[in-house]
């Protein structure tokens, strides 16, 4: 059969969009297939009444003004037309522990952050200043690594970045203790943990600190017209570069023969030959459901089984008929929890039962004041489930269980943030792991790809991405389940990384 396409990208999530756009920009004939009627995967927005809710984006990392952060450079290089909004606050964190609680709003800028910390935790300054200097080195090291596209000259690396390498293998919590941060300062500093889907006792210090530092120095970013603006901007660029996109088009089978990608088969039986496939679908699903079991390499079966699925989420979107000022809602992005111990919190996220005392909420109007009509505001709550917390849910009790989670969340929110929103709910939408399973088709409805314990963290994954994990000729994976870990920024980087590998594969015939 004549091959019409150089590459087929399966799935138009953040990773798939970035990969397809990059391949198309490089002049390849790209076909992007998406089973839903719209692109975006986890990204997007929904309109309800007079509100347009952001679906999932809290804030992009590695952005900054033109020509600075890696993600900003990537999106600019693709020519995506997005109106960016930079935030001047890092995060608001509320710990309701009866004796060790705190309620602080941390600014961006490493100096301002250290100053604020000194106010909250007198005496923390020397350790915090030292930490920020270390972070500066870590950020430089990671950018240096990225500049070699994950294949740096080894000798140079040992000479230049040995401190980075040493700390890379130490969990964040442990390293912060070694660095002499006062407990409370460490606890505040660790607030971002749930962005990474693993607690601070099991995530690499350099990975965690890189994220914090990048937010502080490059600022957190969002798109003015919600994340759907980024989605459609990328979509438009794929078209501009000559790529083809088909929606409502579900791939039933990824055809692999003799360890080589051959094409894809759609649910209506249509077969599209192509020997380069980029899957935005998780390896677990692609190998578990879409590829002939005889053709699934042993290593991939083992890799899928060695890994734990990342968390799924329960998201509550509220449109309120009073402004954030009237209600007294502070901060754009707030972490609320009953203790600062990230490991205890992670454990609590396993089930529904113990869940109510930890979540994150963001009030979009605090970033974009006119995000909703005057006299209204929007809040999005995110609750994580690190295990199969919806295993016992049935059709019959599903709606009731959702209501119960909403009830507990609003109760704890009102208590912790000392606000009253109950009488102001004009619109309410929920998205459960079931909703996520429906839209993104992941096992358990997980939205963080795979958990990132130390052995499978960003660095070991990245170092394995080009060769070790490339097991079927012509088949590569990108997305929040990729080498760069979960999150929007990471998915875009993953898409570009995999596009680059694929271009190299094509060139070298590997």
């Amino acid at each position: 059969m004549k091959k019409e396409y150089d590459v087929i990208v399966v799935g138009a999530g953040n990773g798939g969009l970035a990969a397809a756009a990059w391949m198309a920009k490089e002049g390849k004939r790209v076909l992007l297939l998406e089973k839903h009627n719209i692109p975006g995967g986890c990204a997007g927005s929904i309109v309800r009444g007079r509100f347009e809710f952001e679906l999932t984006l809290h804030e992009l990392c590695q952005m900054g003004p033109k020509g600075t952060g890696e993600v900003r450079k990537l999106l600019d290089e693709l020519g995506t037309d997005v109106e960016w909004v930079a935030m001047d606050e890092a995060f608001h964190t509320i710990n309701t522990h009866p004796t060790h609680g705190f309620d602080v709003e941390m600014p961006i800028g490493s100096k301002a952050f250290v100053d604020e910390m000194e106010k909250e935790v007198p005496g923390s300054r020397p350790a915090m200043e030292n930490l920020m200097e270390l972070n500066r080195m870590i950020a430089d090291a990671i950018e240096w690594l990225a500049s070699y596209q994950n294949d740096p000259p080894k000798a140079q690396m040992l000479v230049k970045w040995s401190d980075f390498m040493k700390m890379a293998a130490v969990p964040a919590d442990e390293m912060l203790k070694k660095l002499g941060l006062p407990d409370k300062a460490r606890e505040i500093y660790e607030s971002y943990w749930d962005y990474l889907s693993v607690d601070c006792t099991r995530v690499s210090f350099v990975v965690y600190s890189f994220m914090v530092y990048t937010y502080l120095t490059r600022k957190p970013y969002i798109a003015r017209k919600r994340s759907f603006e980024i989605v459609l901007a990328l979509e438009q660029r794929i078209r501009d570069f000559g790529g083809e996109i088909r929606y409502n088009t579900k791939v039933k089978r990824i055809d692999i023969k003799n360890n080589q990608a051959k094409g894809v088969e759609l649910t209506d039986g249509t077969y599209i030959p192509c020997d380069r496939i980029i899957s935005n679908i998780m390896p677990t699903v692609a190998f578990g459901k879409m590829i002939d079991p005889k053709e699934v390499p042993v290593r991939d079966r083992k890799l899928c089984n060695a890994r734990t699925l990342g968390p799924s989420g329960f998201v509550i979107y509220l449109g309120l008929d009073a402004s954030a000022d009237e209600l007294g809602i502070r901060g754009y992005d707030t972490f609320v929890r009953e203790t600062a111990d990230t490991h205890i919190l992670f454990e609590k996220c396993k089930t529904r039962a113990s869940h109510r005392k930890i979540f994150n909420y963001s009030c979009l109007n605090r970033a974009i004041s006119d995000a909703s009509p005057e006299g209204t505001c929007m809040i999005m709550f995110l609750l994580l489930y690190t295990e199969d917390a919806f295993a016992d849910v049935t059709e019959e009790n599903y709606f009731r269980i959702k209501d119960q989670i909403v009830e507990e969340t609003i109760d704890y929110f009102e208590e912790a943030a000392k606000v009253r929103i109950r009488d102001h709910i004009e619109e309410l939408v929920t998205a459960s792991p079931v909703t996520l399973a429906r839209y993104i088709g992941t096992p358990q409805g997980n939205c963080y790809g795979y958990a990132v314990p130390m052995w499978d963290g960003m660095l070991p994954r990245t170092m394995s991405g080009e060769k070790e994990d490339y097991t079927v000729k012509g088949l590569r994976f990108c997305g929040g389940h990729g080498t760069q870990m979960d999150g929007y920024s990471q998915a875009y980087l993953s898409g570009r990384e995999v596009a680059r590998y694929t271009l190299k594969d094509m060139k070298e015939g590997r």
Binding site: S162, K166, F228, V231, L232, R299, F390, E426, P460
Partner: protein, 409 residues
């Protein structure tokens, strides 16, 4: 070095763990089982059950109500639907129809009790279709569909249901004609203990003879332990035991408790009328919920309607599934209606600009989208995406639409 951090905590750390990262990772992978990975979890199974894209059903029975009929829909196992999806009382399904008048999907509220969709045995939906003067589809359904016919319907859709954190404990419903159907389902759900709120239905009909589902509603009212109350309001007849006139603010005030939410479902004029009454009563926006209005009519009456297009016919190029079809579109037809009349199978569900299922790319030309049914996202506007079900051509235009690729085994 150009960095000024203290090295004492770092110096003693070994570098080997970093150098061994790939090797160690490979060892962990090597130790894992080589069985096929698990992909199906309860959340996935539940997602498939609650949100099927297509449900294949058969008409098992038809009840005649004069100018309306109730169709009982049961799962069609032969075509792969073993049970029907559970739903929230008030939700709708969209029914695919293919007849001389066009190829289309029409939304109908599920009139039955959600309970009847549960379980593996005897589960069914009921939809009640009333003859509509302008509706080709309702004529077709009432005159042509018979027991045993096969239909394709969507999963349950829509946001018109009771939400306890938003709505008051007491709901006053304004129902007109077949607009009673979602409230019927809500009343049944209350009687079954599935929903927990009180419901007063102010039900407008022309005459007492023509009240749709009158006996069935009375039965629900009887069984409801006082939680469901139906007040019949006749516009064309004065009769004892019935209210006379329209569903006015005065009438609402007469039957409503101090705090309540107002739900509205009925023919198009009822929504604007209901809004006026809500305003008179000083109800907040959050206390007024309206069912989807369905196909838009009379766009030319809007103030922002483009000048000079009324009564004209334009050319519309439809890019669909790799083909380009050119069709004619009248200025009073929505883009969806024009495609349907040409038997182009474009996706749609709500026909009200809300659900987004018909999301399509406008490739060229101008369209007119009435503000009150413009459910687009901000980014849709920026990048030229439209909902054909709520958009009119304002000149020659081209769009790209995405047919749903069906399962085939």
């Amino acid at each position: 070095m150009k960095y000024h951090y203290k090295r004492d905590a770092i110096k003693p750390l070994p570098i080997k763990p970093f150098l061994n990262m790939v090797k160690d990772r490979n060892q962990v992978i090597e130790r894992a089982e080589a069985v096929m990975p698990r992909t199906e979890f309860n959340a996935n199974i539940l997602a498939a059950k609650l949100h099927p894209e297509i449900q294949y059903v058969r008409i098992s029975d038809i009840k005649d109500h004069g100018d309306a009929k109730t169709f009982i829909l049961v799962p069609d196992e032969k075509r792969g639907t073993r049970e029907l999806a559970y739903f929230r009382a008030g939700q709708y399904i969209s029914v695919s129809l293919d007849f001389e008048g066009g190829t289309m999907c029409k939304p109908y509220a599920i009139r039955s009790n959600p309970k009847d969709a549960l379980g593996e045995k005897n589960n069914h939906y009921m939809i009640t279709v009333k003859r509509n003067i302008t509706g080709l589809a309702s004529d077709y359904m009432l005159d042509c569909l018979k027991v045993g016919d096969e239909l394709e319907i969507s999963g349950p859709l829509g946001e018109f249901y009771y939400q306890k954190f938003r709505d008051e404990k007491h709901v006053v419903a304004l129902a007109g004609g077949s607009g009673i159907t979602p409230f019927y389902s809500m009343a049944a759900a209350i009687v079954s203990g599935i929903e927990d709120f009180d419901l007063t239905i102010l039900y407008g009909s022309r005459t007492s003879e023509g009240i749709l589902l009158k006996d069935e509603l009375e039965e629900l009212e009887r069984k409801s332990d006082g939680r469901v109350k139906v007040v019949h309001v006749l516009s064309h007849e004065e009769k004892e035991g019935y209210e006379h006139g329209f569903l006015t603010a005065e009438l609402i005030a007469k039957y409503a408790p101090e705090k309540y939410s107002l739900f509205i479902c009925g023919p198009k004029p009822l929504y604007a009328f209901g809004d006026e009454q809500a305003k008179k009563l000083g109800l907040k926006r959050k206390s007024v919920r309206k069912e989807l209005p369905g196909d838009y009519i009379n766009p030319q009456k809007n103030e922002d309607y483009p000048a000079g297009i009324e009564g004209k016919t334009f050319r519309l190029k439809v890019h669909i599934g790799g083909k380009i079809t050119e069709i004619q579109i009248r200025s009073d037809q929505t883009i969806l209606q024009a495609m349907e009349a040409s038997h182009i199978k474009a996706p749609s569900h709500c026909r009200s600009g809300e659900c987004g299922w018909c999301h399509s790319k406008l490739l060229s030309g101008n369209v007119y989208i009435p503000q009150d049914v413009d459910g687009r996202r901000m980014a849709d506007l920026k990048f030229g995406w439209i909902h054909p079900c709520a958009a009119y051509a304002a000149g020659d235009a081209a769009i790209e639409v995405y047919p749903v690729i069906k399962e085939q085994d």
